[in-house]
């Protein structure tokens, strides 16, 4: 049996980087894939990590663009998901 959860895990293993690309490759609706991904995160099979593009909020203390990662620019943060291996 290969349901949406298996599909998502296979796509993560294959290094597919976005829901849209997963949907294009598998034909499964993006909404279903997103729900499956959320479920895998909720059940601990996939780990999430929030990634901010830009400098840390407090600045680095030594660069020419310190403070650039502060404030509302975090609107476009990425979420990085990686498969958790069974221990």
């Amino acid at each position: 049996m290969s349901g949406p959860l298996s599909v998502v895990l296979e796509q993560v293993e294959a290094g597919i980087s976005s829901i849209a690309e997963m949907s294009r490759r598998t034909g499964v609706a993006p909404d279903v894939l997103r729900a499956s991904l959320d479920h895998l995160v909720r059940t601990g099979r996939i780990a999430t990590q929030s990634l901010a593009i830009g400098c840390p909020p407090a600045g680095c203390g030594g660069c020419a663009v310190k403070g650039c990662g502060s404030g509302e620019s975090s609107r476009t943060n990425l979420t990085l998901l990686s498969r958790r291996r069974a221990s």
């Binding site: 959860l5 290094g15 980087s17 609706a29 660069c63 403070g67 990662g69 609107r75 990085l80």
Partner: protein, 678 residues
Amino acid sequence: MTEPALKQLPLLAVRPPSMKTTCHSAGAGLGAGEDAPVVALVGSPNTGKSTLFNALTGSRVTMGNWPGTTVEVSRGVWRTTRTAASCTCQECDCEPGEGRVDITLVDLPGAYSLVPDSPDEALTRELLVDAPVDERPDVSILLVDASRLSHSLYLASQVRERPLRVVLALTMLDVAAKRGVELDLSALSAAVGCPVVGIDPRRRAGLDELAAAVRDLVAEPVPQPRPHPEGITDSLAIDDERFGWVSAAVEAATLDHGSQQASLSDRVDRWATAPIVGPLLFLAVMWAVFQVTTSVAAPFQDALDGFFSGPLSAAAGALFAAVGLGGSWVEGLVVDGLIAGVGMLLTFVPLMALMFVLLALLEDSGYLARAAVVTDRLMRAIGLPGRAFLPLLVGYGCNVPAISATRILPSARQRILTSLLVPFTSCTARLTVFVMLGAAFFGPQAGTVVFAMYVASIVIIVGVGLLLRGTLWKGEVVEPLVIDLPAYQMPTVRLTASVTWVRLKGFLQTASGIIVVTVCAVWLLQSVPARGDAGFGEVAVQDSVYSVAAQAIAPVFAPAGFGTWETTSTLVVGFVAKEAVISSWAQTFAVDEPGDSASPGTLGDRVRADFTESSGGHPLPAAIAFMVFLLAYTPCVATLAAQQREIGTKWTVFGVALQLVVAWSLAVVIFQVGRLFW
């Protein structure tokens, strides 16, 4: 459920209903007392459950913690009145308004799943599933968010595995419609095997239909649970089957196409993240950014340059002459040092502001995040850890936080590898030098030259990455990952202005601090004699400590076409911070030609003349070689400090050596090959 709990708050203890499907019989004798049917509201948080409960019960509500728990459960009376729309009598002559059915409505705690992961979910499961059959609710209204149908239907898949009377109440249909999702409720009903009603509790729409569906269902026998594959014990396989059921229901119920027809973000991403078109599109966007930046800002930059090197310097000189300090070291420090150095920095304000605005627009719109996908794919293609894309992206702003960002990498070896690659990313401090040299040597093509430096940066990273991976980093396992991209959005003026101002202010504060310190240091070194009889502050710059030290290093760069002490010295200053490269150039040429302040010419003209001399008449390849050297050698001492902190002294020294070797080799090859053509 414990016995005392039931006695204290008998929310669900009901007798089997004895109603028939006529208005009269359904309404007769029923209040929200012991005879009243009990209906439970079930659903995930944020599906509109509480809003529906309030809409149905009004003020007829009691609230309290479920005995033995801290979980709050609300109970109320739902007075349903027969209306023409809700009358489902088969044989009925009743008038509208006749026949009232009072229902005991229980708002169960929000739950994503019947496999409990919280006290709320545990209580919902206990009351809905684990309770004895005659203590379960007569009907469960399962709220489903139509705009997130797949998310909500997972709970439905679990509920439908139980012998329960269920009505699906679809909320957020307006939100779904705005996203282009159109649902066929009949098809959804057939797919999930229970009645489906569309409601909007805030506008009290669909509530009569919901009441009719509930009253109908109360009279029906408990339906058979949905078939469930036998012999599956693995929790992943069980959930996989459930999501397969969800997927089939979504597919059956989705008329158009909003969910299958891609959203605007998905449609754009089809191109923006495509394997071939995506990188090309990204490169085109970045080229446009640099081209627009350099061409639009150039007139402002020239005007500011003319102001600082012309009227302002002349006025300052006249002022010093008037107070008797003309030709003194004080005038040299202020006019040739601070005004020349800080003034040169300020000429870049229009350019940096414009570029920060454009980058903020790209970032705020969500497009810049797509670079992550493109870069990630590149990383994986060359066998580097995919996560390395983030520090490398950050590095294009500043290398120091990029080094810190390598902490997201899971293994120490990957962190070291990525830390060694970060210094090859072209930070904004280098940008000013690229722009100045691009304008001086390539005129209107300056934007393309700057863009080419960014492409060169990527090529160097890939090349060095492959080199290291093929030697010191053999056998590294690349970990898969998924990037959940934010949707595109319209950039806002307020946010764009705010981000631009913060970055510009940061650039000016840091760069001006660095420049003032280095200007003073360079002035001091240029004032100290290394040979000859002149005293402090009176020595010809060629005989100063600054110049003599640079002259000792300069021959190393002769094969690269820029072996003069004036240019070599800027590389030494640039080792401290790239922001100071141009100011030290400006300072050196101002001191070198002190009588030139009346008709100064541009710094670019002087640098071009210097390169023409050092390259034997091949200034263009020499300038490109210099820019590539500047791109590839050590960014600044702050980056070294960050590297030392993250990967230790040994690897930091290795990195510096690697950068110098790569930078010098590339510069020499570029000049020696380039001089054959230019």
